[in-house]
Assembly symmetry: C2
Homo-oligomer: 478 residues x 2
C-alpha cells in the first residue's frame, strides 16, 4: 500500500465520536481502552519499501469476553466507527493495521471453553497463542497440526482469520481444515455460533469456511472449535542437499512420486542456504545449492522404516543426505527453520518477501524466474518454503541505505507476480491479502470473483466497518 | 416435503416458454433434449411416507461440454426457466428432484481434464462416477479417499454439491477436503474457475467451500480439481462384536482414546445386526447386539501391528473380535457394508432413515433416544453409520401395508430431531438438505444464518432459478 492509498483509507473514516473512550470503557472497563492507541497495536510484521506500514486508530479496545466483543462491535456499528480485529499482530500483509476507528484486540480472550482430549477436540478463545494451544494438547498426547511461524505470538483467532499454514500443512492442511465450529460476532453486534464440536455438518452453506481466511472483514472470531489428532509415537527427519535447483526439484518430485506420505516437505534454495547454512545444526557441504527437509512419522518402527526409504529417494542427485537424531536434533532443526526468514532478512538489512504458490512441478520455474529477475535488478534472490504445497516464500535482499536498493527490490518483487499467475499459481498461500497484496489478488481473481466478494462482504457487513479496505479492497463505487 | 408443499414449489414456476425444446436443442443437439422428461430423471433414491418424491420438468437437457452447460444456463436465465442440476440421482433428500423448469443432467461430462499421478492430482468433469474416478487413480497407485455409497452411480459433481462423505471421511474428511478448484457455471450463464491445481490459496474468500455442499443452488459444477493420496501398501480391518449399545460405545471411545488413528470407524446397532448378520462374511455370535468395524492402514508391517493393537482395544467388553483376511475378505466386508441400508429397508419393505450427527460421546444417547421412540411407536429401530464422526444413519422400519405404519414411522422419525439438536448435533451429516430436511435444517441454523444464506443465494442467483426451493428453502417474502 503506498502513502496515497493509506491516506485514502484514512479519509474513508472520520474521527471517532466524542464519547468513544467513555462508552467503550463502560463496556470493557476504562483501563482496557487504550487512547491514544499505542504504536505497537498499529503495525504488523510486514514491511514495504523498508517501512513497516504504520496505521492509526482512535483507541485500542481489549474486551475480556465474547459478550464484550459483541457489545463493542454493536457500539461501533451504531456509531459508524470502523473495527479492526487484532490477534498477535504477526501478519505480513497489513491485515491487522488500522486506518482509523478502533483496534479490537482479542488478546484477553484466552479461555479454554471445552477440552475433550479423549475425543480429540478443543474449543479455545481467539486470543490463545498457537504454541499455548499446542503445548496444552500435547500434554494430553494430542497435536494441533497447523504450525504457522511466530507461534509464541500468533493467536488462534488470527490463524483462523488468515487460514494460516506452515510446514505441516502439506499433509494436514491449513488451519481451516481443523476448524469444526466458530463463535463469531457479526454486524451489527450479534454473537453467532456456526458449527461446533460435530465433525460433519451440511445443514447449511459452509459459512464456517467463508469466515476462515476472511481476515476479519466479515466477522470477529471469538472462539474456535478445533479437531485434534493423536500425537505420533515417533517423528523422523531426513535432509537432502543438492548442488542446484534442478537436482533439488527432481528430488522433491521423487519424494512425492515414491508413495511415501511425508508430514512436511520443505525446501531452501542456494540464495537462502548461503546465509543460513552456518546456523544449521549440522555442517553442510560447500556445494550446497539446494536443500530439502522431509519429515515422516508413525510408530518408532514405521517412522524409522520410512526414514530409510526417504533417505534412499533423497540420495539420487544429492551431495549429502543425513538424518538428524530424533528428539533434540530434530527439534533444533525445526527451531532453525523457524528463524530462516529473519536471518535472511538481516543479511543486508532488508528483504521483500512474498508468499507465492505454484503447482509442484512449476516450483523450479518459479525459482528460475526469481533468480532471473534478481540478476536483472542486481539483487540477491532467496527463496524457501513449503515445497510439498508449491508454496514459496520468495524475495529479494537489499541494503536499506544502498543506492536505489529499496526501490529496485520493490520493483523486482512486483515482477514475480506475472510468472506466478502464468504458472497457474496463487499470489497468497498463507500470509493473507491484507492491504499489501490487494492489487495482485484482484488480478488473480478476476472481475466476477471480485464482484461476488464485494457482494458477500455487503451481506455480512452492510456498513463496511469491519476491517475496511482489507482482503477484498474498498467497496466499488455505486 | 408433503404433497401441498410440492405443488406449491411447482406453482413457483410457470410452464416453459414455447421455444424451450428447440432453443436448448440448438445448444446441445436435439437428441440431448428429452421432452417429455423421462420419469427416471424426476426422482432420487430418497422417499418419504413410502413414496419417492416424484417431480416434474419441461425437459431433461444433457449437455456434452462445460461450454454447453453455460449456454443452457444462460438461455434458462434469460427465459426465467428454473435449472435443476443432476448427477447420479442417488441423493436421499430430494435435492435433485425438479419442480418445473429443466433438469440439467451432467452425465455426459465425463472427461478427465488433467491427471498428474506423480503430483497426486486430477481434474475431472462433473459426470464422472465415484468408482470411475477411484478405479482410474488406483491404477496409478493413488486413492481418492471419499467413499459415499452408490459409487457406481453417484457422480463427482453430485458428491461435490452435497459434500458427500462415507466411512473413510473419518480420517480423510468429506469430499470438500479434497477439492482444490472448481469450474462452475454461475448465473446468468458464465463459466468461472475458482481455484485449480494449487494446494493452498487465500487470495480471496473461500468461494470454493461455499459452493461445495450448496446442492446446485449457487452454481453448476462442471469440473473439479481434486487432491489424491498414495495408496497405502496394506489395509487391515478388525471387527468387534458386543452384547449391547453401552459396551459397544465404550469400545468406540476406547479406540479413539487409544492413540490409534483408524481410517474408518463404523458401527451397527442390534436392530441393524438382527437383519444383516446373515449376509455378513463371517458368522456372528448370537449375542451380537452391537458391532464395530475399524480399518487401519500403512505398510504391511505397520498395518498388521496396528491391527493387533486395535484387536486388543476392541476386545474389552466384547463377545467376539476377529480380523478378516486382508484382500478378498476385507473387500467382501466393505461390499456387505455398502448393502446394509438396502437390506434393512427390505426387511419389512420400508424404512424412514435420516442422517444425524452428534458428538462421539453422545452416540449412545442418540441410539437410546431412537430406541425409546421406536418402542413408543411400536416400530423397529435400526441405526448404523460412521461412528468416528458421530454420524448415524438412524431410522425406523415399517411394513408399507401395515396399520398406520407409514404414518407412525414418519412421526417417529420427526421425534429424532429434537434430541439431535439437544445433543449439540447436526440434522444433516452428508446426505444434504434437499427438500426433505428443510424445516429441520432451518431450526438448527436459526434466523441469522438463514438470513445470511438467503442473502448469499441472492448474490449468486438473483432470479432464484438455480435448484429453487432446495437447501436454503424458498426465498423469504419481501
Amino acid at each position: 500500500v503506498d502513502v496515497d492509498e493509506a491516506s485514502h483509507l484514512a479519509r474513508m473514516v472520520g474521527d471517532g465520536p466524542p464519547g468513544l473512550v467513555r462508552d467503550l470503557g463502560a463496556i470493557v472497563g476504562r483501563e482496557q481502552v487504550l487512547a491514544p492507541a499505542p504504536a505497537s497495536y498499529l503495525a504488523d510484521e510486514g514491511r514495504q519499501a523498508h517501512r513497516a506500514l504504520q496505521g492509526h486508530a482512535e483507541a485500542v479496545v481489549r474486551p475480556g469476553t465474547a459478550d464484550e466483543v459483541a457489545r463493542v462491535v454493536a457500539w461501533c456499528y451504531a456509531n459508524d466507527v470502523p473495527v479492526v480485529p487484532r490477534g498477535g499482530g504477526t501478519g505480513l500483509s497489513g491485515g491487522a493495521v488500522p486506518f482509523g476507528g478502533v483496534v479490537l484486540a482479542l488478546e484477553r480472550l484466552t479461555a479454554v471453553r471445552e477440552f475433550d482430549p479423549l475425543r480429540w477436540r478443543i474449543a479455545v478463545e481467539a486470543g490463545m497463542t498457537t504454541f499455548g494451544l499446542k503445548r496444552l494438547v500435547r500434554e494430553s498426547g494430542l497435536v494441533f497440526p497447523p504450525d504457522p511461524g511466530a507461534g509464541e505470538q500468533s493467536q488462534i483467532g488470527g490463524n483462523v482469520s488468515t487460514n494460516a499454514g506452515g510446514p505441516h500443512a502439506f499433509r494436514f492442511g491449513t488451519t481451516g481444515a481443523w476448524v469444526t465450529g466458530l463463535e463469531v460476532v457479526l454486524p451489527p453486534g450479534e454473537l453467532v455460533r456456526i458449527g461446533g464440536p460435530v465433525r460433519k455438518d451440511v445443514a447449511g452453506y459452509d459459512l464456517r469456511s467463508l469466515l476462515v481466511g476472511s481476515e476479519g472483514t466479515l466477522g470477529v472470531v471469538t472462539t474456535a472449535w478445533l479437531k485434534l489428532l493423536p500425537a505420533p509415537e515417533a517423528v523422523r527427519v531426513v535432509v537432502g542437499v543438492y548442488p542446484d535447483v534442478a537436482s533439488g526439484c527432481d528430488a522433491l518430485e521423487a519424494v512425492i512420486g515414491s508413495g511415501l506420505l511425508p508430514a512436511a516437505l520443505e525446501y531452501f534454495d542456494g540464495g537462502t542456504l548461503r546465509h543460513v547454512a552456518r546456523g544449521f545444526p549440522t555442517p553442510l557441504p560447500d556445494e550446497a545449492g539446494f536443500m530439502v527437509i522431509a519429515e515422516v512419522d508413525g510408530s518408532e518402527q514405521e517412522a524409522a522404516r520410512q526414514a530409510v526409504e526417504l533417505a534412499d529417494v533423497l540420495a539420487e542427485g544429492s551431495v549429502a543426505v543425513f538424518a538428524p537424531e530424533p528428539g533434540r536434533d530434530v527439534d533444533a532443526l525445526w527451531r532453525w527453520r523457524e528463524g530462516v526468514g529473519l536471518v535472511v532478512t538481516q543479511v543486508h538489512g532488508g528483504r521483500i518477501s512474498d508468499d507465492h504458490v505454484v503447482p509442484l512441478e512449476r516450483l523450479r520455474d518459479a525459482i528460475a524466474a526469481m533468480e532471473q529477475i534478481g540478476a536483472r535488478y542486481g539483487l540477491e534472490a532467496a527463496s524457501f518454503g513449503h515445497a510439498g504445497d508449491g508454496n514459496l516464500h520468495a524475495g529479494f535482499l537489499y541494503a536499506p541505505g544502498g543506492l536505489d536498493q529499496v526501490e529496485r527490490a520493490e520493483a523486482a518483487a512486483l515482477e514475480l507476480y506475472p510468472p506466478t499467475l502464468a504458472l497457474d499459481g496463487s499470489v497468497a498461500g498463507e500470509h493473507g491479502v491484507g492491504v499489501h497484496k490487494l492489487v495482485q489478488a484482484q488480478e488473480q481473481l478476476g472481475p466476477r470473483r471480485q464482484a461476488l466478494q464485494h457482494a458477500i462482504k455487503q451481506v455480512f457487513d452492510p456498513k463496511g466497518l469491519l476491517n475496511p479496505g482489507k482482503k477484498v479492497g474498498p467497496a466499488p463505487g455505486p
